[in-house]
């Protein structure tokens, strides 16, 4: 049984169909990426999964339907979202942000252990733990958003364009961390416009075009595909 199994997911805003019925699955321990151009419907797909946008179709998480559930209930099932634009709590401190990530958890010792773990992954955040999150640099905010999501100890981590608006060096750094998190056994679904990097870190990939999936397969194969290279890697 797949951890996440999606059949015919549709997302529409008003009359505009952003996602036109996609099928997708993520296995336990996998890092799967969904690549596509700006406006292809990548973020909408994640929003549909997370219950943040009107959706149609069948979404199953560990066999249970997520359909028509409110976002907080979906989060309680073990899905965590690093939203587009990071969505950090700007007027709370770094530590308070991380604390919010563990909002649903009651195991104090486990939360403390996870806090030490994420601060180990992101030493930069440890240095700035009492600083307001809004005063962090863009890259640090992205780190914080990922760290905060990890604090929930999710079974599936949804990442929405972690490279957006960051300098190349910082993007490199963020991707190294994503690869490290995946190696620790966290299951990830990564939505990305930066196809080159996303295909490097992931095992499988889907290509989304105007709301439909046009290609799918092992990332190494897609990275070698001439169509993909021409359209998304710029060769």
């Amino acid at each position: 049984m797949s951890l996440l199994q999606i059949k015919g997911l549709k997302v529409a805003y008003g009359g505009i169909q952003a996602v036109r019925g996609i099928d997708l699955h993520v296995e336990e321990g996998e890092l799967v990426t969904l690549i596509g151009a700006n406006g292809a419907g990548k973020s909408s797909a994640l929003k549909g999964i997370m219950g943040l946008a009107a959706d149609g179709g069948d979404i199953r998480f560990a066999g249970e339907r997520l359909h028509h559930q409110p976002t907080h209930a979906i989060a309680a099932r073990g899905l965590a979202l690093v939203p587009e634009g990071r969505g950090i709590f700007g007027r709370l401190t770094v530590l308070e942000n991380l604390d919010m990530g563990a909002y649903l958890r009651r195991d104090k010792a486990g939360i403390q252990a996870d806090l030490e773990r994420v601060l180990g992954i992101f030493p930069r955040l440890a240095e700035r733990s009492s600083q307001l999150a809004g005063t962090l640099s863009g890259g640090e905010q992205q780190m914080l958003a990922i760290a905060r999501a990890l604090m929930a100890r999710p079974r599936l981590l949804l990442l929405d364009e972690p490279s957006m608006g960051l300098a190349p060096l910082m993007v490199q750094k963020i991707y190294e961390t994503i690869a490290a998190i995946a190696r620790e056994g966290v299951t990830l679904l990564l939505v990305e416009q930066n196809a080159n990097l996303a295909l490097q870190v992931s095992q499988r990939a889907y290509v989304l075009e105007s709301g439909s999936i046009t290609l799918e397969g092992p990332s190494a194969e897609l990275a070698a595909n001439s169509q993909v290279r021409a359209a998304y890697i710029g060769e």
Binding site: I88, Y103, S137, A152
Partner: protein, 361 residues
């Protein structure tokens, strides 16, 4: 002040002594009308603490907050005045008023769940006006509110047969109803401060903060944003309803006049001026915005004494100064006079924003 800071227990004792002696000091120094002002300071402090839960903690801009105050006041008048011939004791009526206001808080919150910022402000503003207009017109076909004339002869608070009116001698001091109300209001204000501070540090308080900062991210953290929002509306409204009941008993008379839009704006100004989200700041705002307009009245006397007539109406001056001080605040102290730790840092760290897109990390 440093020696006081080192002795928090002594400082607390001094503060308590000051608060107990305050109405007598003020009465002796400035006259009895100022004891009345003191009572109003406490009522407004209660209102400001309540509105601060909605606006400061949860970030929901409510411009109709005074409607909850009105509901509490009218419920008190219905249940403790000759209007319906009911004379329930205040300790029974006040919780009912708070509960009614809380219920209306949820009724206002439920249809506005999806609204944010300006849109929410407009709907709440409309709600405030609707309640006032209802109170103004519900004298026919059935006389519920006595319309614009308002309701009078509302029972004063009475504790164990001691009615809060008239005056009596105690330890050589003249104790009036105004003094007794002061202590009652003080007790409620201290209680409200305690509750509000507890709330801020609680799990709910953290959920409100997250909601205020980013609603989508808050939901993704597993926060039930609908319930948490409704709870903020209900909690804030309950403080308003409580203050309304106290106001009705204290005044003995209420009319829709007392619950107009200006009052909502005034309470909001107290929060913004004092420092949104920070209880001491909010109370400071309530004190200043209640005391200053009263103090300005003396300008009328001053003009009569010096010019022989009143050239500028003090109430016009009041508005002018209000506007000026708010503009000045936004320029020089945008976080408020006594901001919370966080807002202070937020406004102080503007230079740090420069490296927001700095990726050399």
């Amino acid at each position: 002040m440093a020696w006081l800071r080192a002795r928090p227990r002594l400082a607390l004792l001094l503060l308590a002594a000051l608060l107990i002696a305050l109405p007598f000091l003020v009465g002796a120094g400035l006259g009895r009308s100022w004891v009345r002002v003191l009572d109003f300071v406490l009522i407004y402090a209660l209102l400001a603490i309540g509105l601060n839960i909605v606006v400061g903690y949860a970030g929901l801009l409510d411009l109709g907050y005074i409607a909850f105050y009105a509901l509490g006041a009218y419920l008190y008048a219905w249940l403790a005045s000759p209007h319906f011939g009911l004379h329930l004791p205040f300790w029974a009526v006040l919780p009912l008023g708070a509960a009614l206001a809380g219920l209306f808080g949820v009724l206002l919150g439920a249809p506005t769940l999806r609204l944010r910022g300006d849109y929410l402000a407009i709907v709440t503003l409309g709600f405030g006006e609707i309640i006032r207009i209802f109170m103004n017109n519900l004298n026919a076909p059935f006389n519920l509110t006595n319309g614009p004339q308002g309701m009078n002869l509302i029972d004063p608070v009475s504790v164990g047969g001691l009615a809060f009116e008239g005056q009596r001698q105690f330890l050589g001091l003249t104790v009036t109803g105004l003094h007794l109300y002061y202590y009652l209001f003080l007790a409620f204000t201290l209680l409200a401060i305690g509750v509000a501070m507890r709330l801020q540090d609680s799990r709910i308080g953290r959920a409100w903060a997250a909601l205020r900062e980013d609603e989508v991210a808050a939901a993704a953290m597993g926060i039930n944003t609908r319930n948490v929002k409704l709870l903020a509306f209900a909690m804030g409204a309950m403080f308003g309803g409580l203050a309304g009941g106290l106001f009705a008993a204290f005044q003995g008379f209420i009319s829709p006049e007392s619950f107009n839009l200006w009052e909502s704006i005034l309470v909001l100004c107290m929060i913004v001026l004092g420092g949104m989200g920070n209880i001491p700041g909010v109370i400071l705002g309530a004190v200043l915005l209640t005391v200053i307009p009263e103090a300005l009245r003396y300008l009328g006397d001053l003009q009569r004494a010096t010019l022989g007539h009143v050239a500028v109406d003090p109430s016009d001056l009041r508005m002018l100064l209000f506007g000026l001080s708010l503009v000045a605040m936004m320029l020089w102290r945008p976080a408020g006079l006594w901001p919370s730790r966080q807002r202070k840092r937020e406004f102080a760290s503007e230079d740090e924003h420069a490296d927001l897109y700095d990726a050399r990390a």
